[in-house]
Symmetry: C2
């Protein structure tokens, strides 16, 4: 309770300063500054007295002041899309591990798939003087970052490329992965295959749809109008899209789900559906093996690690033109993608 | 490519200053400062000229300087335990939503369950002058935060309480939830029940074990030595612990899993086990409904929301003694917890 009282009377304003430390240790301000910054020119005895005063007062160096003085913060920022999407967990952790190995702090935030919020967050991180930014973009125009990049903020895009600026990008081969997944369904005898994906302004949604269309074209199969649906990945929208494709005059016999949020909802719907329907999903999901869900898996941790390594190479002076890296996917056949087409 | 060249020649050092803006707009430094900070005393025409210069130069206000001047940053920090644990996704998102509603930026980082790393991260956030901190603690001694709390950093602990300091804590009723889950197994006829939990230094692990012991005692059931195992939640350790309890002279007929990481591994093991074994897990898991996994669910989003709301009340001046809030759990019976005990 003593703690509470002290806390309530002293909030905002009582943080001890170097002056307080100097007064308590009976030394000059310059001496305290030398000790705090690990500079030479202080006797062992004086250093001990200053350290004791620092300890007693609970003094902490103000890094905001240091940032202004030295210009570097050893901090990198990560702009995520959705903190609650499990896909970004391993990605974030991999970025954090690389940052830590370079002695840097990682600061995260999320745009919640809102381009305005992405801009606001990225600029707020720049205003706090991060050395570098890793961005999973929600928007498609990143010219707002040009002044920051010119001022020296290293910037790497991951999962989706930058829009309207040249910048490094580390992506999954969404086109190739979707094409392989759909080809797998075709090889199993399916001719009528539906595609349910994310919003059409999202790069990965467009690339995966392109992969679907390529696989259908490779097999000389037509794509009916009702077989493609892009939109928000909330359960209501996805459920409605899937139910429409599975009903009607030309029902599909198989579905390709454009990401893990879509897959989860389709799996729930198919669990109640009377006719067997084949399913391949893009992205792996925890426990998908036990549920027998066939997926095209991407390596989220490798995306994060590769992007962070690129960022630190840039910070260390690597100065080639921005480049794009695409990581491969892996198809895991577990049952749902091997269901044969239902008889008409 | 022009972008690349410009970038490589100007990195570190060319960020435009207020002086540059003043020179370009042909006004004094004080006028630029007034426009940037939205203060009165500038004609519309002058303001327009300053804004044009800001735009042309790509000037951005330096928030590090502003922090030093005004002492408040409208930023809160969140110290997570593991970025890749899906339990923390909804919790983080809820904290972010509350922060955003209060016009504040949320900065995250994770301790990876390492007390030293927790301390380092929390102090790094304080050094960057966050107004408040929400901490999921890895360690059990938080006296290192006392100087920060005295200096005015509002601090709320979530999921686990603070150690050796008085601070607000928002927790799940781990004791009550585990007791209810184990009582459910006992009501189904089980007499030999195993408990597999997290590291014994983690508050929730200890509380859930206490709940298990209380339920067994309520039913006057003995707990054999080999039926309790606390430790790291990596698959190898959990698998070994479960296999040991399910074999030997007095095999258990049911298992209580202390958190979602344990549940996932036990579910995989039981999928291969020849004898049916009942399972109740603490924490819900995505798709657990389709796999028929009975769980004691906690509300991760409510934990985050409640903690963040407490933090902002503190920042708005609410000054009661620190308090502890415990949120209730809900038992979802889905099949795995209703498997009857195997015949001896």
């Amino acid at each position: 309770m003593a703690e509470t009282v002290r806390r309530s009377t002293s909030r905002y304003g009582s943080r001890p300063t170097m002056k307080d430390v100097a007064a308590r240790a009976g030394v000059g301000l310059k001496t305290v500054s030398r000790v705090v910054n690990g500079e030479a020119g202080v006797t062992q005895d004086t250093e001990r007295r200053v350290q004791e005063a620092i300890e007693a007062l609970g003094f902490r160096r103000n890094d905001s002041a240091r940032v202004l003085r030295k210009g570097r913060t050893a901090t990198v920022g990560l702009v995520l899309e959705d903190l609650a999407d499990p896909f970004y967990g391993p990605l974030s952790r991999a970025v954090e591990e690389v940052a830590r190995a370079h002695g840097a702090l990682l600061i995260n935030g999320s745009s919640a798939e809102d381009p305005e919020r992405e801009r606001e967050l990225a600029l707020a991180l720049c205003a706090r003087r991060v050395d570098g930014l890793i961005v999973i973009p929600a928007g498609s125009d990143h010219r707002y970052l040009e002044p920051e990049i010119r001022a020296g903020v290293a910037t790497v895009f991951v999962d989706r490329p930058a829009g309207r600026i040249e910048a490094d990008a580390v992506l999954t081969d969404s086109f190739g992965g979707a094409r392989q997944g759909v080809a797998h369904l075709i090889a199993g005898g399916h001719r009528r295959i539906g595609f349910i994906g994310d919003l059409p302004r999202i790069h990965t949604a467009v690339e995966r749809l392109r992969g679907y269309r390529a696989a259908m074209e490779d097999a000389e199969l037509p794509v009916a109008d009702g077989w493609v649906s892009l939109g928000p990945t909330d359960p209501e929208r996805v459920r409605e899209a899937a139910a429409a494709m599975l009903s009607g005059p030309e029902p599909v016999t198989a579905l390709f789900a454009g990401n893990n949020r879509v897959t989860v909802t389709v799996v729930r719907l198919l669990a109640e559906w009377e006719r067997p329907v084949a399913l391949v999903g893009f992205d792996d999901i925890e426990l998908a093996d036990l549920l027998g869900i066939t997926v095209v898996a991407q390596d989220a941790a490798a995306l994060g690690r590769t992007a962070a390594e690129r960022l630190f190479r840039r910070l260390e002076g690597f100065d080639d033109a921005p480049s794009r890296t695409e990581l491969p996917t892996v198809l895991h056949a577990r049952g749902s993608g091997e269901v044969p087409p239902a008889e008409d």
